[in-house]
């Protein structure tokens, strides 16, 4: 129940996620991150279609963040429920949320 769409433009990559990022779907997203987050200077996670995220999803977000090694990573279109999770878990301090 997760649809992952990625658009690459030079060294800028955008993931558009639709559905749920949980234990069932996180491995797929993790694979995509491993494959595609390589040599970028900007990564955008567009959560417009994302319903919610569990800790399994947070793990992938964190690994993406670590892979970017301080390069730009932006999370946008975060809904209230996911924002609650980010706040609750302290991810709000790690992420640049638009």
């Amino acid at each position: 129940m997760l649809d992952i769409k990625s658009t690459k433009n030079d060294k800028e990559l955008v993931f558009e996620l639709t559905g749920r990022l949980d234990t069932t779907t996180a491995p797929e997203f993790s694979t995509r991150v491993d494959e595609e987050v390589v040599d970028l200077n900007k990564l955008v996670l567009d959560f417009k279609g994302l319903e919610y995220i569990s800790s399994a999803g947070l793990r992938v977000v964190l690994s993406a963040l670590k892979k970017m090694k301080g390069e730009d990573m932006i999370v946008r279109n975060v809904n209230d429920d996911i924002m609650d999770i980010f706040e609750m878990t302290g991810f709000i301090d790690l992420l640049t949320i638009e």
């Binding site: 129940m1 749920r20 949980d22 234990t23 069932t24 319903e51 919610y52 995220i53 569990s54 800790s55 399994a56 947070l58 793990r59 964190l62 963040l65 670590k66 209230d80 429920d81 999770i85 609750m88 878990t89 302290g90 301090d93 790690l94």
Partner: protein, 582 residues
């Protein structure tokens, strides 16, 4: 003359005191030897008797009164005692010792008296052989002593020469010697009988006390053992306890199924204490249970039990009873009260006494008709049943524990599980009562509803998770739960289920969802390794990116999102329940 009589009297008193002391010593210290089946031990007792008898004879010789150079003494009591109690062995030893000592004292009657003492010891021993213990009656002792002393004087008459001297001696001493010996020996037997009697009373007391102990054990064994909670049907939890004040009490509780979907809870207090109360308790308990298991409603079962108890109640005993029948699948209780203390009800998080119009006490009047009431218990609701031993527990300042303190304390405990509630109540009662004695039985029963769950059972496989998620969502959507709450439950489901599937090593997981209109609960039952997620430390949510860990984050999120996280381990299964008010 008066002085003489006075000094004789004092002598007699002194001898009586010696007799009493001696009898006490022998009876208290050698009793078990006399009664022993072991021949050696009995022989030892006989020898000891002989020695004591002999020593008494020696004492009596010294304490005797000199009349015309003849000694008036109660020496013969020694061999008599030794013979009657200690048989031929005792009699012979005592007679021998007293006789030998008498020989050393000389005087005109030396041979007659010595021979008399020796033979009296032997004859007494023979009496013991012929009549055994039967001889030891006070009047018999008196008569035997008179006969022996008559025989003693006869020897004096036959042996002492010249006969005129013998006659004058006999004339002078006959009455005092016969009376002193007879009274002394009768006194000894009287004391001995008294001690025996006391010992029997003591035995009887011990026997009754040990029988009461057995009665207590039987009574306790009649109380139901705690019911096992079985996963998949863990709709409620129950814990109960009873502490009796005296050995046997009149309180009882009962928990029994009437069919697959109904369980009855009974709390009762019989008037009075001890065996009568315990017997009445057994009858009442049996009648109520029989009537309920025949399918009667609580009110009917009580009305009938009341008539049955009234039929034959000459003693005028009565019972106060509070009983309810719980319909497990719906949480509906039907209850009836026969003069019992109102239980405490915790409903929707509020705790108060469940006061309804009470019926008359059970076994009070045969015309009593009981009325039943109904009430709905939902997930998290609880009942606390008790007897007046709780509210009327007294401290050393003669203050009662009281209904107010009980209510106040129960409000503090309302979120706890039944076993914690019972334990907590005991602690609070102990604290209140302090060193004061417990006067009444203290009996309590705690019931807590765990919800009416709709359940789904899966194999521990990640691929099953989506179907569980749909299952939970469908239930919550059909109950018109807000999308936001559904998301919270979905996330919790994902966190808990993934944990259980990946790490517990279970062979199944059962997911249950329950909604009581105010609170949604989701429960996970698995047979994996024991794991209490509540013990998990919270993760550091302020660490920089490089040091961030995901482990523990899921459980942390659950704690934040839910209003309650409860864990218990039952029958080798983990039961984890998360709850959220809606």
């Amino acid at each position: 003359m008066l002085d003489n009589m006075n000094s004789n009297f004092l002598h007699l008193i002194g001898s009586a005191a010696i007799i009493i002391v001696l009898t006490f010593i022998i009876n208290n210290h050698y009793y078990s030897l006399f009664k022993s089946d072991n021949g050696k031990k009995r022989a030892k007792a006989y020898v000891v008797m002989g020695l004591f008898g002999g020593l008494f004879g020696v004492y009596a010789n010294y304490a005797g009164i000199n009349v015309s150079d003849a000694i008036v003494s109660i020496r013969d009591i020694g061999p008599m005692m030794a013979g009657i109690f200690g048989g031929p062995i005792g009699g012979l030893i005592a007679g021998g010792i007293a006789c030998a000592h008498r020989l050393t004292l000389g005087g005109p009657t030396v041979y007659a008296c010595s021979l008399a003492t020796l033979t009296i010891g032997m004859f007494s021993g023979l009496l013991h052989m012929i009549f055994g213990q039967k001889i030891i009656k006070i009047h018999w002792a008196f008569i035997i002593a008179c006969i022996f002393e008559g025989y003693h004087l006869l020897l004096v008459y036959l042996i002492v020469k010249p006969t005129s001297l013998a006659i004058s001696i006999i004339e002078a001493v006959a009455i005092p010697i016969i009376l002193a010996n007879a009274i002394g020996f009768a006194l000894m037997v009287a004391v001995s009988l008294y001690i025996d009697h006391q010992r029997e009373i003591q035995f009887e007391k011990e026997r009754i006390s040990s029988e009461l102990d057995v009665a207590t054990k039987i009574q306790n064994s009649m109380l139901p053992m705690i019911l096992p909670t079985f996963p998949g049907r863990a709709e409620f939890k129950i814990q109960a306890s009873m502490n009796t004040a005296k050995e046997v009490g009149g309180d009882f509780y009962d928990i029994f199924y009437t069919d697959d979907d109904h369980i009855a809870l009974v709390m009762a207090d019989v008037s009075g204490k001890g065996i009568p109360a315990a017997l009445f308790m057994v009858i009442t308990k049996t009648l109520i249970k029989n009537n309920m298991q025949e399918g009667m409603s609580p009110a009917k079962a009580m009305t009938k039990a009341n008539q049955q108890l009234c039929e034959n109640n000459e003693e005028g005993m009565f019972v106060t009873v509070w009983m309810c029948l719980l319909e497990i699948t719906t949480g509906k209780i039907t209850f009836v009260n026969a003069g019992h203390n109102p239980p405490l009800l915790t409903k929707d998080g509020k705790c108060d006494y469940l006061k309804t119009k009470s019926g008359f006490i059970l076994a009070g009047m045969d015309s009593t008709k009981y009325k039943e009431y109904e009430m709905q218990l939902d997930d998290g609701d609880a009942l606390f049943l008790y007897t007046d031993g709780v509210t009327e527990a007294e401290n050393s300042a003669i203050e009662l524990y009281g209904e107010d303190r009980l209510l106040g304390f129960m409000k503090e405990l309302k979120d706890k599980d039944p076993d914690e509630i019972i334990e907590g109540m005991h602690k609070d009662l102990d604290e209140f009562v302090g060193d004061a004695e417990q006067f009444d039985d203290i009996t309590m029963l705690s019931l807590k509803m765990s919800g009416n769950y709709k359940t789904k059972r899966i194999e521990p496989d990640i691929s099953e998770m989506e179907s569980v998620s749909s299952f939970v969502e469908e239930i919550l959507e059909s109950e018109e739960i807000s999308p936001k709450t559904i998301i919270s439950f979905n996330i919790c489901l994902d966190e808990i289920l993934s944990n259980v599937i990946q790490y517990s090593g279970c062979t199944f997981v059962e997911i249950g969802v329950s909604n009581n209109g105010k609170r949604v609960s989701m429960r996970f039952v698995d047979d994996g390794e024991e794991y209490d997620p509540k013990q998990n430390p919270d993760p550091d949510i302020t660490a920089p990116v490089e040091e961030r860990k995901i482990g523990g984050l899921g459980l942390f999120m659950i704690k934040k999102m839910m209003d309650a996280v409860e864990y218990e381990r039952v029958d080798g299964k983990n039961i984890l329940t998360v709850r959220k008010y809606i």
